[in-house]
Amino acid sequence: MSVVAGSVGASTASLRRARVMGILFLLVGVLIVLVFGLGSEGGVVSRLGLNPARAETLFRLPDLVLPARSTAFLLGAVCAFLGGVQLSRGFERRVNLVIAIVLVLFVFAFLTWAARDRSLSLLGMLQSTLLRSVPITFGALSGVLCERAGVINIAIEGMLLTSAFTASVAASLTDSLWIGLLSGAIVGGLVAGLLALLAIRYQVDQIVAGTVINILALGLTSYLTDQFLQRNQELNNPGRFQNVPIPGLSDVPILGPVAFDQNVLVYLMMAIVAASFFGLFYTRWGLRVRAVGEHPKAADTVGIRVLFTRYRNVILGGVVAGIGGAYFSLGAVGRFEEGMTAGRGFIGLAAMIFGRWNPIGAFAAALIFGFADSLQVKLNILRVGIPSEFLAMAPYLVTILIVAGAAHRVRPPAADGKPYLKE
């Protein structure tokens, strides 16, 4: 409401936050020096690979060879310096950027430490980060499309699972990955249609409706797997989409092999991220969708069909989740396995929240989860002394941390989860 922006109390709160941040940066710096610096033996080097596994590439970069201990010292010093600046002068608005920098420095220091006396393919990590973020991104985009129109979609997990199953079976039956992908997308849309029906027509609590669908999806796919796929393995042998390097772009060092030497589903994901971003924020369609998600009554009074918009967006979200589901069976694994989505739909939701219901933000958040996921796999291989069970918790713990950290600071669409009742 119309109250003049004062600054007395507000500034004390932000000042305290700024101090906490500064101290945190300092602590990270100290941690890097103590753990990763002193934890590495002097004179040992870490080798970080920057080239793709395949040999023929236009530009070959030399591997990054770093002295483990001094690198850690240097990185720790930079963090501590940033902390000092923050405490004395403050970064003000750019503090979020500095947080990101400190995080990256920390992770890099950690990797150097983990790869001491060994070699680690940094490029491989980036590649697997992207790959592991793909289904999460699809899930998050599905959530963005639904929730921007005001329908909470907690059924993403179920949509991923059903379409992973359908895509695998359809592709196996027809011997066509494309038909498999299409069937996955359609079934995703159908499952979303059920969610829309329950949430919009019957006004079931949207979280309950989503949970019902998740349970139903788990039960049905497990049942059908037991009933058919176990006895008829040929029904669950679709093969996988092969990588299609994009000529020219795929030869760009680092970025090329990571982003432009992937299978078609990864390209599709990038296209959908871009399309939904521009669609939501720059087109008539997006303006209307967002109006429906923020203030459906206002949208209604200017002639926008609220319920139709919601149905359409939920189903669209289902199709996107369906493609994500197909990625599990046709893009990553090459077959369907019971419960193969392993909570990725929920992690997608967390990415959506952390990305502030913005497709690009959601993608960026998904990359963080993808990184946590690929990190745990890599660390497992490097045998850093952390039990693999704990490493496996990483993506889930990161999700909890991020949701807990973001929940207060993000604002969902105002009508998210509220059924619209016409008078």
Partner: protein
Amino acid sequence: MRLQLKGVTKRFPGLVANDSVDLTVAEGEIHALLGENGAGKTTLMNIVYGLYRADGGEILLDGSPVHFGSPRHAIGAGLGMVHQHFMLVPVFTVTENVMLGIESTRRFGFLDRREAAQRVREISQRYGLEVPPDAVVEELPVGVQQRVEILKALYREAQILILDEPTAVLTPQETEDLFEVMRSLQEAGKSIIFITHKLKEVLAIADRITVMSRGRVVGTTTPGETSEEELAAMMVGRAVRLRVDKAPADTRGPVLEVLDVVVLDDRGQVAVDGVSLTVQAGEIVCVAGVQGNGQTELVEAVTGLRPIASGSIRLLGRDVTGASPRGFLRAGVGHVPEDRQRDGLVLDFSIADNLVLNTHGSAPFARWIVRDDEAIRAAAQERVAAFDIRTLSVEQPVATLSGGNQQKVIIGREFSRPIRLLVASQPTRGLDVGSIEYIHERLVEKRDQGAAVLIVSVELDEVLALADRIAVMYRGKILNILPADTAEPERIGLLMAGSLGEGEGPGG
């Protein structure tokens, strides 16, 4: 364009909201639709705007009958409505809000924000409606948001504008600005239907006045032919009693002492800016002011619901700064909240449970942690009788009660425990006349029993009727505290607009 309603009837189960209403609005006319809360004005306009369907009667535009199945049709026919609750998307810009539904686009459905903003500027210049096209709506003052709403209708080339209680949220100065805009629209040949229950405004701006009461048109007149008293009598059907009979205050020492308190709102902005205020036992202090000037946050601070950023609060000499809501309750603070359904009641719980919502944990309603349902029911029956709560049974969910009876449940709860300070926020908002009188009497009675009473109200009439002292709040500050018996309404009105004295214009 000329609008005619003939015999429009709308029935809801149990009541007739509009009973054969006739109304004619001529082209270029400002037509006031006057009536109490619940007289059926908004229902009638919702029918005209296509939100409700009439059970009988017809609507004519320029003499030919029309049927609007939805607002879309009404808009298409040249009607525009500014709702009491704005139909604006808070996170959109002015331009986005205005063009929503009839967007300017380039190829492939991409929005042409520049072109739309240009049209917004043109219209705002033509009618003297100043709005910043690229500002985000939620960051604009209420008065400007209202202009955006009017602009939205004009953008759709409305010929007839319906304004539903447009002045309820405005300062006197903003109201003047709105009247300016209305006059310039009138000059441009637009018709305006102005819904209100404020007599002075009607006399100031309307060409013709139609008075409604209990769903019927009581009469049509013009400002020249009538007076405030006559209109009031038409509206209510009997002489209104605005004064509450009460003896002069017999103050007995300070109960609530607020010192230099700063409170932040939900967005971290300063809402209460260094307020100091003392309420004594045996007096009623009213906080007057336009909605949204920090009153809500002040009330939340003195009931413990919102932490204060600095300053101190003392109750009966004891420092209670930083205490929890429970701490304030225990210290003897009773609270009649502004939003009774959100903060005052659990709508799904029974009347009996709501009557013990803040005392259920102690004797006689509980032993250790075990509830004594018998005692709770007995006490409820007693209070239902004592506070005239109209219900069949105390086991009914409180949601089934009317607004007035719901408010009585809260009053009954707070008045039945020993309180030293009563904080009541908009205690009669949305209630019928009978309930208003009843609640006013009980508030004065509480004062006479020696409690300190702090009332926040945006209704100036209510403030003048109840207060012993009046504190006027503007932009988070208390500008002045006046004794009620010598306060002139005009002076209070000026203070509410931020004007401290003669010659000093309102800020901002």
